[in-house]
Amino acid sequence: MNIETDIWPRIESGLRGAVPLTLTAMLVVLVAMPLGVPALGPIMPLFPLMAIFYWVIHRPDRFPYLGTFLIGLFQDVLAGTPMGMSALVLVAVHGAVASQRKFFRGKSFMVVWSGFAVLASGAVALNWVLAMAFYASLASPTPALFQLVLTVALFPCLTWFFRLVRRDLLRPI
């Protein structure tokens, strides 16, 4: 057995396979970065949500539940939200997408986009209920609604980017 020729392709495919999760973790960091745009912070689009939606449909083999869970925790740590809150929402979204994966595969983009809008609304609503229950108080849902609108509006851009990544980096594995 020739280790030289056997080990590199494996490392390479391992690295390529890690792209979806790594990319999503990087999006979590991007969301937490101060971009110096006033008032953007509270309505920052939910990029990680888009990533999870896309990768669970297209490469579920490279996006396990545990990955989603850890990304949720990472987001909680960075954002200062209660530990487990984003994790709960994202794992729930993952579950919902996974159950509808067959429906979304091969559908027109408008259908996928609408599906995403419905799912994102559910996720934001769940997040709002969890946050308000945790803090036992009531805040205006307006920023969350703005966040939802921005998220749905930017979904095509991110999808286009993920499609490029999938075609160029993940096609071989």
Partner: protein, 313 residues
């Protein structure tokens, strides 16, 4: 070997795989929920995990946010250059006004010093500052916090006030070695004892995730002027008294709204005020000491320096 790579050997039967998937879904949902509940109960372990991860990521965020800041600075330079003429006129005007104020301030300073000397007044200690860069925004609709790139190793401790040149920003709620999380005044959980500067009316400034926090716990039928300055009262001993906070902008159904002096939307650098009343340690949980400690009897709470909370205005 090739067989292994194709996953042939490890492939579980279809039904088994589905079971494992469903199982991990349920387990992880439960784990997330449990974490939330434990966090609600303020489990120390959850917080330690959190600060450990924050400490790890803070340098990364720090490095990543520098180019962003450079771009912002360049944009600021260019727009600033274009507005140079107007800016100059404005500054000349402001300078003339401030010179008059300076005269007033100097006169008052001497007068103040003389009067303090007469009364043998014990002035509050001035705090030292730790400057820190904002490296993380919450990027979230539910909390208003910020991450800065300095922590316990820089001398910051929990509950210290965080200010900019304009006014109070918030206080430190989570502390790592190299990072600290600041709870902004606008956060749902922020409660700061304040006082209306002109009338000395005390109140609590409560955040509600909007950009303008509300004055609560005002006695009924107390009227507050629009435009009145709000400063920290120093009650409770957590924050120094007299830090500028904001101005009252008006009344709505939740109460009097306060527009903050500090622009929380574009914070780059903040200062953490290292301040404490000598011989007085307020409700901070870190002040707890084991009973076996020899000087526990003369401990922080024995000083009796606590401001009287029973006093009514």
């Amino acid at each position: 070997m090739r067989r292994l790579r194709d996953g042939q050997v490890w492939r579980l039967p279809q039904a088994g795989r589905a079971f494992v998937l469903r199982f991990s879904f349920v387990i992880l949902l439960t784990a997330a929920f449990t974490l939330m509940v434990l966090g609600r109960a303020e489990m120390a372990a959850v917080e330690r995990l959190r600060t450990a991860v924050t400490d790890l990521v803070a340098p990364l965020l720090d490095a990543l946010s520098r180019p962003v800041q450079t771009v912002n600075d360049v944009v600021g330079e260019v727009t600033g250059f274009l507005a140079l003429r107007d800016e100059n006129a404005r500054l000349l005007d402001a300078n003339a006004r401030l010179r008059r104020w300076e005269m007033v301030a100097r006169r008052m300073e001497t007068e103040n010093a003389a009067l303090r000397g007469l009364l043998n007044f014990k002035s509050e200690p001035l705090g030292a500052f730790v400057s820190a860069r904002v490296v993380g925004d919450s990027g979230n609709a539910f909390v208003r916090t910020m991450l800065v790139n300095a922590g316990a190793s820089a001398g910051i401790s929990k509950n210290q006030a965080v200010i900019t040149g304009d006014g109070l920003v918030g206080r430190v709620v989570e502390l790592g070695q190299r990072s600290a999380r600041i709870l902004l005044l606008t956060d749902l959980n922020s409660r700061i004892p304040v006082v209306i500067q002109s009338t000395r009316q005390r109140a609590i400034l409560a955040g509600d995730n909007s950009s303008t926090p509300v004055l609560t716990l005002l006695p009924e039928n107390v009227r507050v002027e629009v435009g009145a300055r709000v400063v920290t009262s120093g009650h409770g001993g957590l924050l120094p008294a007299g830090l500028p906070v904001g101005v009252v902008t008006g009344l709505d159904e939740s109460g009097y709204r306060v527009r903050l002096f500090a622009d929380l939307g574009r914070l780059e650098y903040v200062r953490v005020v290292n301040w404490s009343l000598p011989g007085f340690s307020p409700l901070a949980p870190t002040a707890w000491q084991p009973v076996a400690e020899p000087d526990a009897a003369t401990g922080p709470l024995a000083g009796g320096a606590a401001p009287s909370e029973a006093e009514t205005p």
